[in-house]
């Protein structure tokens, strides 16, 4: 198997807040190879967006990496200086955001912004940058790229804007594309189209895609591998088919059971996972999920769970998930 393009190794990140710190990521490890789509799933507040932000070095001024490394083609980006990190963004690693409504500058036309995003290309004439922008808009499935180039962001529909945002992210042909809930703000038809588009682009460019979502349907459709996060930890990592057919972590099982699309018979109640996320400013000593877990024992509540490997390319963070 080829070397990973992007790998996160034992990353811990916390946010300084008034009166302490919140451990948003704890000992997170995962990797994504060229041409692979990695899904990061989990409920709100589990750290999946923090992880995406950390990968592109935009975690914010109050975020602090306390341990670990983020390697882009083997080079630890956390050890680079500000300017070097900035040069990687856009060119090596790019991001698509959740809300296409606000992802563009409202006072500049889409074309002007797509041309502007190519500021790294020294010596390339403006005409060529326009051509590249136009070409990329056509590739993301906008039928009239010339029209879109001249439009202001508010003159486009949500789906068109998300396509334009994807075009912007791919403009510099990054090795890794991070998509943070790219379809959450869109309706289901648009969602299907955008997923289809991402799949095509992956085949066309061979870039690695990291997609952050709470939508298991998106994961099933698009991803090769999945990392399930809970309370700032990756609790299970597996190839997508194995995850859905043979989930090992109780949290993964509960998450799949809660997916409305998977409920066979009509029911008056939506299944839910009882309880709530632990307080991350004071994480529990044992397994973070123990308080909500149906099979938790005393050991779970006091001893941190080991990472076990139930199969090739799989990992589960659980005492009870013996193969």
């Amino acid at each position: 198997m080829s070397e990973p393009v992007l790998s996160v190794e034992n990353l811990s990140l916390r946010y300084r807040v008034a009166g302490g710190a919140v451990a948003a990521l704890r000992n997170v490890s995962l990797s994504v190879r060229q041409g692979e789509v990695l899904g990061i799933a989990g409920e709100s507040g589990c750290g999946k967006s923090s992880l995406a932000a950390a990968m592109i070095d935009l975690a914010g001024a109050n975020a602090e990496v306390t341990a670990g490394a983020i390697r882009l083609r083997g080079q630890d980006i956390l050890r680079l200086d500000q300017a070097a990190r900035r040069r990687l963004r856009g060119r090596e690693i790019a991001m698509v955001f959740q809300d296409p409504m606000t992802a563009f500058n409202p006072v500049l036309t889409v074309g002007a912004q797509l041309v502007d995003f190519q500021f790294n290309l020294d010596g390339v004439p403006g005409r060529e940058k326009r051509a590249r922008a136009r070409d990329m808009l056509a590739r993301v499935g906008l039928s009239d790229p010339d029209l879109v180039m001249g439009r202001y962001p508010h003159e486009l529909s949500g789906g068109m804007r998300q396509r334009a945002a994807i075009a912007a992210a791919l403009l510099m042909r990054p090795a890794v594309l991070i998509a943070d809930e790219p379809t959450t703000a869109l309706d289901v038809t648009m969602e299907a189209q955008i997923i289809h588009l991402l799949r095509e682009l992956r085949a066309q460019y061979g870039c690695a895609i990291v997609i952050v979502t709470h939508h298991l349907g998106v994961i099933a459709e698009l991803c090769d591998r999945v990392a399930v996060m809970y309370a700032g930890e990756v609790v299970e990592e597996a190839p997508v088919d194995e995850l859905f057919h043979d989930p090992r972590h109780p949290y993964t099982r509960a998450l799949i059971a809660c997916d409305p699309a998977r409920i066979g018979k009509a029911t008056g109640r939506l299944p839910a996972i009882g309880g709530r996320l632990p307080d991350l400013s004071d994480p529990p000593p044992g397994c973070a999920f123990a308080a909500r877990c149906g099979i938790a024992t005393d050991r779970c509540r006091t001893v941190p769970p080991p990472r076990v490997a139930p199969g090739a390319d799989r990992g589960v963070l659980c005492h009870e998930a013996a193969p």
Partner: protein, 285 residues
């Protein structure tokens, strides 16, 4: 911004009757001021005491004043004085406010705190009192007038720009810009600047008449432009002192003040609607 975008804004401004009227009035005064020697029928400071206090006639379209000077010529040259002072002062204050506001909104937090304290203490001073104090110290004159306006106006502009910058620097498209590897300078000048100048231009346009009135007011009090340089303020004062002998003088001196105030205000309001692409009516095709 593309040139097409700018023309679109101009079209939007002209399609609004108030905006078009405002632009027309402003252009009228600007032309008057720029081409005063050609527009004015006579020398504005040439005395002809034999023809003093004449009502409007063919020889003197707006009549003459207490020293027999042609009033229309004095009004035309007065436009030059008024606009030169108002545009210079507002322009300098606008640039100063823009720079300080962007520093406060985008720079380190401690600098923001210092600047905001400064703005607040400046704007707690009443404008006319502050103007009188500065004039007492520096002495009356055009330079003093501009200095006062710049000092008094900067805080309001800077605060507007600061608020806009602060609100925008957390916006998604700025984060997206960072995600593309943009430097702070690029974000400031390419993305924040065009987003904040619109509101500033509107405020500046609406403040021009305030400054014109301040200049006229101080000149009326003999604390602004020194005679015999024509100013709408000292023409108004001359008219007031000889209101019994020549009542036309106050009316003629007041008219440009009213019209220029309306013109700049309408223009400001028209600009507000035209410059915001989100408020702009969609142009088909």
């Amino acid at each position: 911004m593309s040139s097409g975008g700018r023309f679109r804004a101009l079209r939007a401004l002209l399609s609004d009757p108030m905006g078009a009227l405002g632009l027309g009035l402003v252009l009228l005064f600007v032309v008057m001021a720029l081409f005063a020697p050609w527009v004015a029928p006579a020398d504005p400071i040439k005395l002809n005491v034999a023809e003093k206090f004449q009502p409007p006639s063919l020889a003197h379209l707006a009549g003459t004043d207490q020293l027999g000077r042609d009033l229309l010529s004095r009004i035309v040259y007065g436009a030059r004085t008024a606009l030169a002072i108002a545009l210079t002062a507002v322009g300098l204050a606008g640039v100063g406010g823009l720079i300080l506001g962007m520093i406060a909104g985008f720079g380190p937090r401690w600098l923001d705190a210092v600047l905001v304290l400064l703005f607040d203490s400046m704007s707690s001073l009443p404008m006319i009192m502050f103007a009188l104090a500065v004039i007492t110290i520096v002495g009356p004159g055009t330079g003093t007038l501009i200095l006062v306006v710049v000092l008094v106006s900067i805080p309001a502009y800077a605060r507007l720009i600061r608020a806009q910058t602060l609100a925008l620097s957390g916006a998604d498209f700025i984060v997206a810009e960072r995600a593309m590897g943009a430097s702070s300078a690029r974000i400031l000048f390419r993305h924040l600047l065009p987003n904040v100048v619109g509101p500033l231009l509107i405020l500046l346009s609406m403040d021009v008449p305030v400054v014109i009135m301040l200049e006229a007011g101080l000149s009326y009090l003999n604390l602004g432009v020194r005679p015999p340089t024509p100013s709408w303020g000292n023409i108004l004062y001359d008219g007031y002192t000889s209101i019994r002998a020549a009542p036309h003088m106050v009316v003629i001196a007041g008219l440009p003040l009213v019209l220029s105030t309306l013109g700049f205000t309408f223009l400001g309001e028209g600009l507000r609607d035209a410059l915001d692409p989100r408020l702009r009516r969609r142009v088909a095709g």
